[in-house]
């Protein structure tokens, strides 16, 4: 299916200047997403997933962050757009759900006030009672019991999961074309999680919303995403379809990540598999592949690993792009064998 993507991110880099030096949080990241599709972003914590996501709405803190590259939404470059244009996109065309639900709500206003506010910025003419009706309906859809009684309460009176549902309700209230969801369900129990993911899928079906879903839960990725990007050290190291990620991961990091997944049925005790070593310091990125110090395959005399940053390239006989110097076919064999 060939169509122009709804959003395309090209060569995005984000740096923060800190007293310790420049933090290279995102390095040369490119991806795109079509309407109606769900792109999962997984990866090491601290690998730049949230920073990438906030860049799409120009939400990185203005003074210390510097951003380069381009982000095209419906063909227009967001990074070059003026304040007014951005404001019209924010919350109406592109909505965002933040990672930390407990601090995403303004503690000084009732939750009703905050949802209605989000609706009314983009629906100027609407009267308050009407907006309130829309808000109540949305709260009901995200599964807040008895919304009429609770809409006038303050955020601190809700549990973590309920706050997250309120945040989700706020994000979805204007039926955005693109939803950026940064770990939307981490705070929720699995039954509510399933309900929220269903809701997102329903809205996606209704109006062709595209979703960028950042999550640590590979189960959620498996159940909801079409494509997946795996991030490590501020770069995308693998881009693939969801099925291929789980059957034939093509990057040593993805491979390690899948190895660490616990299973519900497996008899549990004993040490879990981890990836030995620590993530790279974003202050001084290694000159070659940033995964090199932890990579079990790098030792086999691949001197390129420590000197040249690997590019994303197609792995033969798959649809996966992988940023790894290992001979591509060799990589495929190695990982599959080792996975067993």
């Amino acid at each position: 299916m060939e169509s122009t993507p709804l959003l395309s991110v090209n060569n995005l880099s984000v740096e923060f200047s800190t007293p310790d030096g420049i933090v290279h949080a995102v390095n040369d990241v490119s991806f795109s997403i079509e309407a109606g599709k769900t792109l999962g972003i997984v990866g090491e914590s601290g690998s730049g997933k949230s920073v990438t996501a906030s860049s799409i709405l120009k939400l990185n803190s203005g003074v210390t962050a510097s951003t380069s590259g381009s982000i095209l939404f419906k063909g227009d470059n967001i990074l070059g757009a003026d304040d007014k244009k951005i404001r019209q996109l924010r919350g109406s065309e592109i909505a965002m759900i933040f990672q930390d639900p407990l601090s995403a709500l303004n503690p000084y206003y009732t939750v009703g006030h905050q949802i209605i506010e989000a609706y009314k910025v983009h629906h100027r003419g609407v009267k308050k009672p009407e907006a309130r009706k829309v808000a109540l309906e949305m709260l009901r859809r995200v599964g807040i019991p008895n919304p009429e009684a609770r809409i006038d309460e303050f955020p601190h009176q809700f549990s973590g999961g309920m706050r997250q549902r309120i945040v989700i309700a706020t994000a979805l209230i204007n039926s955005p074309k693109l939803l950026i969801a940064d770990e939307p369900t981490t705070a929720l129990d699995v039954t509510v999680q399933a309900q929220i993911l269903d809701l997102m899928k329903d809205i996606q079906k209704e109006n062709g919303m595209a979703i960028i879903l950042i999550t640590h839960d590979l189960g959620v990725v498996a159940e909801t995403c079409d494509d997946v990007a795996v991030m490590y050290g501020g770069r995308i190291v693998e881009k693939t379809s969801v099925n291929e990620l789980f059957t034939t991961p093509t990057h040593p990091y993805s491979f390690g990540l899948l190895g660490a997944v616990r299973s519900l049925d497996k008899s549990a005790r004993g040490s879990l598999r981890t990836i030995a070593g620590a993530p790279p310091s974003l202050l001084h990125l290694p000159s070659g592949c940033s995964f090199m110090p932890r990579c079990v395959f790098a030792n086999d005399g691949h001197s390129k690993c420590s000197s040249i940053v690997p590019e994303l390239e197609l792995v033969p006989s798959t649809h996966s792009l992988s940023a790894c110097h290992l001979r591509k076919d060799a990589l495929l064999k190695l990982t599959t064998k080792d996975l067993l």
């Binding site: 906030s54 709405l57 939400l59 803190s61 003074v63 304040d83 404001r87 019209q88 996109l89 924010r90 919350g91 109406s92 909505a95 965002m96 933040f98 930390d100 601090s103 995403a104 709500l105 303004n106 503690p107 000084y108 206003y109 009732t110 506010e117 989000a118 910025v121 983009h122 009672p129 309130r132 009706k133 109540l136 009901r140 009429e148 009684a149 809409i151 006038d152 303050f154 601190h156 009176q157 945040v167 706020t170």
Partner: protein, 350 residues
């Protein structure tokens, strides 16, 4: 999802309930303030009553006859046991009080705080005359300094790192390190005596002569405001910068709200809460500081009245001014707490 639920009619009670929660909080806070006031009045009264000096002996000059002292003691009620004195005093506040009887009775209407033999006036009248001066002085400079401090703080935060920020930080670091007394004299000297931009201040009440009032007030206002504003500039700047890092502020921005709205409803609200607390304390301190300012700028305010009562050993006036000052400090604190509760729902719903 009944129809009734969705009509605007339904949600009024809910909104009202919330307001009631706030009202309850306010009522409770005021009640607490009243109890505190009663305690403060008792304490103040006892403190002065238990001084080793004989209050009656202080009522007339050096060559005073013992008979007169004795008569004054009876007139002022100092012959009664102390709890009765206090009771009389409290009753006087609400019902007014007559000192002595017959021709030489002095009548002070409610709220009576005592009678000053030194100045031959009811203490309430004395305070009534001087209080407005102190109130104008304090309130005026308070408003000015809050506007100045918070205003420049916000500007500095919004232009973080640029010249506006650096300029304010330079000015404020000078401001916080200067004493009021010194700056007051300096300003008075340079503007009035040296440059002669303003005439030497002669206080008049604003209803009598607005021009004189303003020329007398403007220098003390500016002196107090500029000095205190400095620390508020810092507080506001840091508070705003900190609030701008909050996730909920970013979420507000992500909704597509205007910068101004985000600033007002998200950032300032969070940043101003600690400032309100400190402002309340500072306002109380300002009343105390009035003593200095009033002397420097020779304003006929309560601070000067209090100083005079100390040098004259005028006990009733001393008790009266101390009490009124205490009332204001308690009230300022109550108001701060109430504003705090209005601003932050987490406080009021505890």
């Amino acid at each position: 999802m009944s129809a009734a639920v969705d009509t605007p009619f339904f949600y009024f009670p809910v909104a009202r309930l919330l307001r009631i929660a706030l009202t309850r909080f306010i009522v409770r806070r005021i009640f607490f303030a009243l109890v505190l006031l009663a305690a403060v009045s008792l304490f103040t009264y006892l403190l002065f009553a238990l001084l080793p000096t004989d209050p009656a002996a202080l009522t007339c000059g050096k060559n005073c006859k013992p008979e007169l002292i004795a008569a004054n003691r009876v007139r002022l009620g100092y012959d009664k046991p102390i709890y009765e004195q206090y009771w009389q005093f409290v009753r006087g506040i609400f019902a007014g009080r007559t000192y002595g009887s017959g021709d030489i009775a002095f009548k002070c209407p409610a709220p009576s705080l005592g009678y000053s033999f030194n100045q031959h006036e009811c203490v309430s009248t004395l305070i009534g005359k001087t209080f407005p001066v102190t109130a104008y002085l304090s309130l005026g400079s308070f408003v000015l300094w809050m506007l100045l401090g918070v205003g420049t703080g916000i500007i500095a935060a919004l232009h973080r790192g640029k010249w506006q920020d650096r300029l304010t930080s330079l000015v404020t670091s000078i401001g916080v390190s200067l004493p009021t007394f010194y700056v007051g004299l300096l300003v008075l000297f340079s503007v009035v005596i040296w440059l002669q931009w303003l005439p030497f201040p002669h206080y008049a009440s604003p209803t009598d002569n607005l021009h004189d009032f303003l020329t007398a007030m403007i220098l003390p206002w500016i002196t107090l405001a500029v000095l205190s504003a400095a620390s508020y500039t810092r507080l506001t700047r840091n508070g705003v910068l900190e609030a701008m890092n909050e996730d909920f502020v970013r979420f507000g921005v992500a909704k597509g709200l205007k910068n101004r709205t985000v600033m007002r409803k998200y950032v300032l609200r969070a940043a101003l809460i600690p400032i309100v607390t400190i402002a309340g304390l500072d306002f109380a301190a300002l009343l105390g500081g009035a003593i200095v300012t009033e002397s420097v700028f020779s304003l006929p305010g309560m601070g000067r009245l209090a100083i005079r009562s100390v040098t004259d050993s005028d006990l009733p006036v001393l008790v009266g001014t101390t009490l009124v000052a205490a009332v204001f400090i308690v009230m300022a604190n109550a108001i701060v707490d109430i504003i705090y509760g209005v601003l932050d729902p987490r406080v009021r719903l505890k």
